[in-house]
């Protein structure tokens, strides 16, 4: 099953502070390729790294040793919104799509030798949907498989603000997977609490939410989170209004993400791992 999961490549724009060796630039000195500077043999007693040329040139006849930065691992997290609205979806519910994306991230992180963790939240952080960061992806992949069949209850997504308590102090790469159908203020507070990390918002919208509405007819809808009921008389004018309302919302949240310097990754219906690779090339400095 894991072989079927397509990977994407990602990189981070900051130096990792992790000691565990990995693929990212690091501040940790060690057995890397990146030259960091010289020091004396006494302070860095590694005779293998004695720089003969520098030692000869030194009039004080100190023995110099070259120091290198190792490549380190950096934690990667998938934070998934499990609120009621994620139950929506025409072909595939958003939760199932979330599970697909999260397992892709897990496999990609394993390939990059990064620890991967998973955190699910609805109106609280769901401790039964938490997988602590690990270099072994099995547990996370099992969780993702279970998530595929999960049906969110009728709850809001207010738990976002508490997610940061479950994250390491170390700067991590965070994929925040949600439809972001939450009040602006709540979203703003949530993002503020995650500012210390590099957040990639993955916005899951479904085209049947606004573009592929039925052409004409009367229907009554019930909100997945609040249970609010409304009758809709769908017609050309109404559909145009709905699409306009969603476009306005898209502009609004895009502006909010940009104010936090988190470029959003919009997704409609199908997830393509290559698009995520493309995203990193486009938005994240190497």
């Amino acid at each position: 099953m894991q072989n079927e999961i397509k990977e994407f490549s990602y990189h981070i724009s900051w130096r990792s502070r992790g000691r565990h060796s990995g693929r990212h630039l690091s501040t940790q000195r060690g057995m890397g390729m990146e030259f960091r500077g010289h020091t004396s043999l006494l302070s860095y007693p590694d005779p293998r790294r004695i720089d003969i040329r520098q030692t000869i040139r030194d009039p004080l006849e100190q023995v110099h040793v070259r120091m290198f930065n190792q490549k380190s691992a950096s934690p990667v997290f998938a934070i998934a919104d499990l609120s009621g609205s994620m139950n929506f979806g025409a072909k595939q519910s958003k939760v199932a799509l979330t599970s697909e994306i999260a397992s892709t991230i897990a496999v990609s992180a394993r390939k990059n030798s990064d620890p991967f963790g998973f955190i699910g939240f609805d109106d609280v952080v769901r401790e039964d949907w938490i997988c602590p960061p690990s270099f072994r992806a099995h547990q996370a992949l099992e969780l993702c498989a279970a998530l595929n069949k999960f049906e969110p209850a009728q709850v809001s997504g207010a738990g976002l603000k508490d997610v940061s308590r479950f994250l390491p102090r170390e700067r991590s790469l965070i994929f925040l997977i949600s439809d972001f159908h939450m009040p602006m203020e709540e979203l703003k507070n949530g993002l503020s609490s995650l500012m210390q990390h590099h957040v990639v918002p993955i916005v899951l919208w479904d085209s049947s939410e606004y573009k592929n509405l039925p052409e004409f007819g009367i229907t009554s809808v019930i909100d997945c989170e609040t249970g609010q009921k409304r009758t809709l008389f769908l017609r050309k004018e109404m559909r145009a209004n709905i699409v306009a309302s969603f476009e306005a919302r898209r502009a609004e949240i895009e502006a909010l993400f940009m104010s936090f310097d988190m470029a959003a990754f919009f997704l409609e219906g199908v997830f393509d791992a290559d698009a995520l690779t493309e995203y990193f090339h486009q938005f994240v400095a190497a």
């Binding site: 009554s220 809808v221 019930i222 409304r230 209004n241």
Partner: protein
């Protein structure tokens, strides 16, 4: 005029609270939607949503109201017409089944007296649309047939029913008292008549005579007597008739003398054949034309049909909405 509503089965009103069910329960086909707050406000949609609830509630209300079968009370309206209140007192004795001897009308020979009487009275009834007519017959005693009524069909049916087999006695007194009884407890229209149709006389004892005298007087009833006479028989108008000695007067003359003593208006006719009978009835028809007041009963109106119809209309509208309903979201 205030219309009061009455219910035939008020227990059904206990079901009325059930009408709020559509407000409490969800609709069966409700689509889940991720974020309803994102949907723009739409007045038409809100209106339709409200309308559907209201229609459902009203349909249920009307059905329950219809089950309780509401109706207005029957009303009595006073009408003024030209005509009279007429009691027909018909002789059903066996002699009425004899033909008028030599009677020849419409080429029929030997039409019996009762058939001729019923035929002519049928015409008479048909020609008087505003009359209230009641009927009694008599042979060995008075037989109550029909109270005073405006219902043409009932009157005509009652007249038709008189032509049949009969008994052999003639008890005029009983027929007249039961005929006068028809007027009892009926509002006086100002024009009341009793038409007594018989083929001869009968003796009335003194007590009954007194009763007839009192009743006709008290109830203001005029009397018309049509005597069907055998051709060549004794005429009641024959003043020259002298009975044989130590024999009583013939019954019809005796009866005529008694009727003359009444305080109320009295007129006698003699008919020897259908033609003269028709003439007598035409004469009565002429005389009894005064404006009368009478009360007409208007039955209470039953609203349950209207309730069910309206409910059906609303259910029809709801079905229309159902037809427009989106079943497949995608």
């Amino acid at each position: 005029m205030n219309i009061l509503i009455f219910f035939n089965s008020p227990w059904a009103l206990w079901l009325l609270p059930l009408a709020i069910l559509p407000l409490v329960l969800d609709r069966a086909f409700t689509q889940r939607y991720s974020w309803v707050a994102m949907l723009p406000k739409d007045k038409l949609s809100d209106l339709i949503g409200l309308l559907m609830k209201v229609l459902a509630v009203l349909a249920l209300l009307l059905i329950f109201l219809g089950l309780a079968s509401p109706h207005s009370k029957q009303q009595i309206i006073e009408k003024i017409g030209v005509g009279a209140q007429i009691a027909l007192v018909l002789d059903r004795s066996a002699s009425m089944d004899d033909p008028f001897s030599g009677g020849e009308i419409n080429g029929k020979v030997g039409e019996t007296k009762s058939v001729a009487a019923s035929r002519l009275i049928t015409q008479f009834v048909k020609s008087r649309q505003n009359d209230m007519i009641g009927m009694t017959t008599f042979s060995n005693s008075g037989m109550y047939v029909l109270p005073l009524t405006e219902n043409r069909e009932a009157i005509l049916a009652a007249v038709q029913a008189t032509a049949g087999n009969a008994l052999f006695q003639t008890n005029i007194g009983s027929g007249m008292t039961s005929g006068a009884g028809l007027f009892d407890k009926v509002p006086d229209s100002g024009s009341r008549a009793m038409i007594l149709l018989s083929d001869g006389g009968g003796r009335i004892d003194a007590e009954t005579q007194q009763k007839i005298h009192d009743w006709l007087d008290r109830l203001h009833i005029g009397l018309y007597w049509i005597v069907l006479r055998q051709p060549g028989g004794l005429s009641i108008f024959d003043t020259s008739y002298v009975p044989p000695e130590d024999a009583v007067l013939p019954t019809q003359i005796e009866l005529n003398e008694f009727f003359k003593t009444l305080n109320s208006p009295y007129h006698a006719y003699e008919a020897e054949d259908p033609k003269s009978l028709a003439a007598a009835i035409a004469d009565i028809n002429q005389k009894e034309k005064k404006p009368i007041r009478y009360h007409e009963q208007i039955p209470g109106y039953d609203f349950s049909q209207a309730c069910f119809l309206l409910a059906a209309l609303m259910i029809g509208l709801l079905l229309g909405v159902k037809y427009l309903e989106v079943r497949t979201w995608d």
